[in-house]
């Protein structure tokens, strides 16, 4: 497939496709972070994660409309308000769902999968009833439009760059929260040994709820960022859920670095191959390779070294 390209042409193709893949990377990272927290720390499969993301996207859409009608002077900064709102809304709903549904299912991971799938169907149809089946887009503030010219061939759209910065910032935030804060220590203690964690006075039910809410909140931020690079429809979330699960599993379920590395490699592989073949074949090949590697190495790229 490389026939007919010179080396320099190939290099710039890889560079261009690499930058194009970065926006996919950002979406993967943002979505996978929330999933990885919920799945890696709690062993719960949240099939409705995509719908939480879309909830964040719709929150952003509503916020941007509000700013446009009532506070046009502050429009350039609406995104930060929207991001905060998306986080709060999704985290609150997440806590509610955890209380109503998930906490009854902690010992039955396969059943959480089915129950959250049901939740995702309900949420999707709710979006369709409220916002309509058509995709909606938000208006970008002026400073986010345009692109930075790097070389003659390569230019970086500002919105894509911005989303990537958010993704990385949130990844850093999650890392600090999980590994450098007292609360993160509690979460990790509960993951490693629940009875012992309870014995030293950690409220494990509270930790569970907060973890689930945090994961959903991050999905909300992911949704807010998602509106910057694409339009939002009721089933946009479902389109990403399988890929994102693969990202999480491929990276090794309990490793944040693994998640980021696998998000990067999967998105880059897909977007680079897209140049040489049809988009669907690129996706098939990427997924096949990932599934193949997972079959050979089920613990993922960066496995937690635990004696089993």
């Amino acid at each position: 497939m490389f026939d007919g390209y010179t080396t320099s042409e190939l290099l710039s193709i890889f560079a261009m496709q690499g930058f194009a893949g970065l926006s996919l990377f950002s979406v993967f990272v943002l979505m996978a972070l929330g999933l990885a927290i919920i799945f890696g720390q709690m062993g719960v499969i949240n099939m409705a994660h995509g719908e939480f993301m879309i909830l964040g996207a719709y929150t952003t859409y509503l916020t941007s409309n509000l700013f446009q009608s009532y506070l046009p002077s502050l429009f350039s900064g609406y995104f930060f308000v929207a991001m905060l709102l998306a986080f709060v809304v999704c985290a609150a709903l997440g806590a509610l769902i955890e209380w109503a549904m998930i906490r009854h299912l902690y010992r039955r991971p396969l059943d959480t999968l089915l129950a959250t799938w049901g939740l995702s169907l309900i949420m999707q149809q709710a979006y369709r009833s409220i916002f309509g089946a058509r995709e909606v887009g938000v208006e970008l503030p002026e400073w986010m439009m345009g692109a930075i010219q790097v070389t003659d061939l390569v230019e970086l759209p500002i919105n894509g760059l911005f989303v990537m910065i958010i993704a990385l910032a949130i990844a850093l935030g999650v890392y600090l929260l999980m590994y450098r804060s007292g609360w993160g220590r509690k979460v990790r203690a509960v993951v490693q040994n629940r009875p012992m964690a309870e014995a030293v006075g950690i409220n494990s039910a509270g930790v569970d709820r907060a973890t689930f809410a945090l994961g959903c909140g991050i999905a909300g931020i992911a949704g807010a960022a998602f509106t910057m690079i694409g339009s939002t429809g009721p089933s946009s979330g479902q389109a990403y859920i399988v890929d994102t699960f693969l990202v999480v599993v491929f990276g090794g379920a309990q490793s944040l670095i693994g998640t980021i590395v696998s998000a990067f490699s999967i998105s880059q592989a897909q977007s680079t191959m897209e140049f040489f073949m049809s988009g669907s074949m690129a996706k098939v090949l990427t997924l096949l390779v990932v599934v193949g590697i997972l079959m050979l190495r089920p613990e993922g790229l960066m496995a937690l070294k635990v004696r089993r």
């Binding site: 799945f39 062993g43 499969i45 549904m101 009854h104 299912l105 010992r107 039955r108 991971p109 396969l110 059943d111 959480t112 999968l113 089915l114 129950a115 799938w117 049901g118 939740l119 995702s120 169907l121 309900i122 999707q124 149809q125 709710a126 369709r128 009833s129 479902q238 399988v242 699960f245 693969l246 599993v249 049809s278 669907s280 074949m281 996706k283 098939v284 997924l287 096949l288 990932v290 599934v291 997972l294 079959m295 050979l296 089920p298």
Partner: protein, 396 residues
């Protein structure tokens, strides 16, 4: 549940009566009560029952949740569709194409000769073998790769789901070879026999019922042997079974392949009964819906799975006709309800509420419901509660 010596005695037993009741419903009541169109719809629902029965064995008994049963259903269906399509694409029938004798969608996609993997599907015997063989082979490969590495539970579910996604994208992307998103349509005859007439559809319905009972008896046979007990034991205490010297992976691969074979047969019948096959029946959403057929019926009950498939599909088409917006809410509620409120599905509800009533009516001693296998799980410190699912494997 011991097998009686004589079949007649078995038919008079409680279990035999349930089978008789189902047979009565499917063979006598529904064909008499419904017009050919509706009966054909029921036939379509029944093809999903094959998948559901497979899932009872695979998920209910052995605890392996596959979210990719649509893949096997689809492979069986596509095998049959390829045979029928080749039969429909005779050089005479396709004379207006630029390359006569190949399926129409290939001609539209500028293919000039039949791809190699289509060639064997000229033979009906090969098709019959392939529609079971291809799904089983894929299940064998997946099973060998995953179960021998002791991958199970959630990981297995995610990977099978990814495989469903891959197959769907592949079929949609390779339009020239597979018919793309429209699928393989315009199927007319099976060995010269027109499958579109009302008589043919009614006959196909009865073939479907017959094969379904064959599947049910196969599953029942497996379930009542030592093999079936090992499957259940494996689900409850995988380590103990392994340490007793059984090859856990081999049993898992076997039951996964069995479920795949059932699904393949169901898919082939689906193609015959519905008259086409398309990727929308095999994707992620379709595959996970197949799990709900099994879950609603009761994940441990073979007959329940048949009723589950019938009810969910009937409700689905009923609501899609009258209140399409309401259906996803109901479907979602069904998923949540089946997990949270009645994990043993209709069969569980029947056991809890109808059986005591039955016993009072017939003045018989309350039958002891089939003893739920003790899980030996002591860590949760709760008494055994039949309404809580104690069967799903606990993986961390």
């Amino acid at each position: 549940m011991k097998t009686s010596a004589s079949p007649l005695k078995w038919l008079a037993s409680r279990e035999g009566l349930y089978y008789l009741a189902l047979a009565l419903l499917l063979v006598v009541i529904l064909p008499l009560a419904l017009d050919p169109f509706r009966l054909n719809m029921v036939g379509k629902y029944l093809t999903y029952a094959f998948v559901a029965v497979g899932l009872v064995m695979c998920w209910g008994k052995a605890g392996i949740l596959s979210l990719g049963q649509g893949v096997f259903f689809g492979l069986g269906g596509y095998c049959m569709a390829m045979f029928l399509k080749l039969e429909a694409s005779t050089p005479e029938a396709t004379a207006i194409q630029s390359t006569p004798g190949i399926p129409d969608f290939m001609d539209w996609n500028q293919l000039t000769e039949l791809p190699w993997f289509w060639e064997p599907f000229h033979s009906f015997a090969f098709t019959l073998i392939a529609l079971i063989g291809v799904p089983v082979l894929l299940a064998l490969i997946i099973g060998l790769a995953m179960f021998t590495r002791r991958v199970g539970g959630v990981y297995f579910a995610i990977i099978t789901q990814a495989i469903a996604a891959i197959l769907t994208i592949l079929i949609i992307g390779q339009q020239g070879y597979t018919g793309g998103v429209n699928g393989i349509t315009d199927l007319q005859t099976l060995m010269g026999w027109d499958i579109r007439t009302d008589e043919a559809k009614t006959l196909l319905y009865f073939v479907c019922v017959g094969l379904l009972f064959l599947c049910l008896f196969t599953a029942r046979f497996v379930q009542n042997r030592k093999l079936g007990r090992i499957l259940v034991a494996m689900n409850a205490q995988e380590m103990r079974v392994r340490f007793s010297g059984y090859d856990v992976a081999a049993f898992k691969i076997f039951v996964f392949c069995l479920a795949a074979a059932f699904a393949g047969v169901g898919g082939a019948l689906f193609t015959l009964i519905v008259g086409f096959m398309s990727p929308s029946f095999i994707g992620i959403v379709a595959s996970i819906e197949m799990v709900i057929f099994c879950a609603l019926g009761g994940r441990l009950s073979l007959l329940g799975a048949v009723y589950g498939a019938l009810l969910v599909n009937a409700a689905k088409s009923g609501f899609s006709e009258s209140l399409p917006e309401l259906w996803p809410f109901l479907m979602g509620a069904l998923f949540i309800g089946v997990v949270l409120a009645f994990p043993n599905g209709l069969a569980g509800l029947y056991q809890t509420y109808v059986m005591p009533l039955e016993a009072r009516l017939f003045r018989r001693r309350t039958p002891t419901p089939p003893a739920a296998p003790a899980t030996g799980r002591k860590d949760d410190g709760k008494p055994f509660d039949p309404m809580i699912d104690h069967f799903s494997p606990e993986k961390s």
